[in-house]
Symmetry: C2
Subunit: 253 residues, 2 copies
């Protein structure tokens, strides 16, 4: 709630991105410094629902410091489809957002910083170590994989499977950054927003979450979800996201 200073946001964003990069490829201290140097204020603050403008001009990019941001489409008749989520540390490239019916907007209170220096450095391969470049590529690759999975989710999974699948993905994403307590998913999304991600109605999301709760797989409350049985959830999702979670065996207390 307290008003974060710009410098705080810079630090948070840089730290998050750095954690994300090094979760793929270990970075040298020099690389870490480089990452920090890429961002400057001022941070832009986005209220929930506020749109995040990226200029199609070359190399425009923003990094998320706080909050969750959606990329997707808002059709004229009110239908909405979220194509992807950007969490703190994620970089949103104008190239990915530019399209007639595509938009970027904040789902929660959020703030972003200019990251065009980063994008420029990486795309010109100037002042970037090979490891850093490789880490960045893997981040991008993971993004593409998420997009592909999103397609599969929407195309062929039932509401029940879809929901399980998404929650697992988000959990995996958060625990990769090391932030999450085991089994606890920070989830600042309303059921409306979940519906817009999963291509379902909010009402049906609600019923599906109840099913998942009855099955002992998910305990949802606005702001967070508890996933007491990751294995079971993976099973419910029907897809093999499970691999990465195998470390924590199903606790049967």
């Amino acid at each position: 709630m307290k008003n974060q200073s710009y410098q705080d946001d810079v630090d948070i964003a840089a730290a998050s991105l750095e954690r994300m990069l090094s979760s793929f490829v270990a970075l040298s201290p020099a690389d870490v410094d480089r990452v920090r140097g890429w961002f400057h204020g001022p941070a832009l603050v986005h209220p929930p629902g506020g749109s995040v403008s990226l200029h199609p001009e070359r190399q425009d990019a923003r990094v998320v410091a706080r909050g969750w941001i959606a990329r997707g489409a808002m059709l004229e008749d009110g239908r909405r489809q979220i194509v992807g989520l950007s969490l703190p540390g994620d970089v949103i490239l104008a190239a990915d957002a530019v399209d007639a019916d595509m938009a970027v907007w904040a789902l929660t209170d959020a703030s972003t910083l200019d990251a065009s220096l980063l994008w420029e450095a990486i795309s010109e391969s100037v002042d970037v170590s090979p490891r850093l470049l490789e880490a960045w590529r893997q981040v991008r690759s993971a993004e593409r994989l998420r997009l592909a999975r999103h397609v599969i989710r929407l195309g062929r999974l039932s509401a029940y499977e879809r929901t399980a699948h998404l929650l697992l993905e988000l959990y995996e994403r958060q625990s990769r950054l090391g932030a999450a307590e085991p089994g606890v998913l920070h989830l600042p999304l309303t059921q409306d927003m979940l519906a817009d991600i999963l291509g379902l109605s909010a009402v049906h999301i609600n019923r599906t979450l109840q099913q998942l709760r009855r099955a002992g797989l998910v305990d949802y409350r606005t702001g967070r979800a508890i996933l007491p049985d990751l294995q079971g959830l993976a099973l419910a999702a029907g897809l093999s996201i499970a691999d990465d979670l195998a470390d924590a065996p199903p606790s049967r207390d």
Copy 2:
């Protein structure tokens, strides 16, 4: 039907890729030569349904010479979801295909060539002119945009809209390469395959195509579709893909 020689396939693939690249950024003759130099035989021939193997090892990539290739998931229970299509001239990167439940397979008789030289050259920025690099980036960017649109299609469009939307996208893709006669879409897909792209059942695809025909928007036969009214089709798709088609004003004869 006649057995294409390997050299033919190399030529075809290189020419298609070159046309695709230069549809975004005009290439110099030297660049064109460079593109041609990137591919060698032997071509791999893939029968319909045959899987295209890409080795996750660094930089593996294949270019499509003939036929249509699908990237997607085949679930254990037989459900199938196609995430993206690769047409002649398209490059399939191992990095995009690698995942537990992800696969790449031929939809028609197809042949592909090793393109790891290309991918290597581009990712190292060695022996690549800035224009060529820029063209490649735009190709990739167009791919990402298609993926995003696929998500929107599956998440929020009705069967009718979805089908119209996909046909338009394919048409736009083909006419960009200059190959298509106006209003004619080369479409070597069975209704089953369309179903696996659009996340619908084959039966429902059939009924939807009939609706579109009755509306005077699509005349489908295996192997090709005729789109007599692109404006109307764009309207039916509900999304503004229309822009690129504006050149041909609605003929009211």
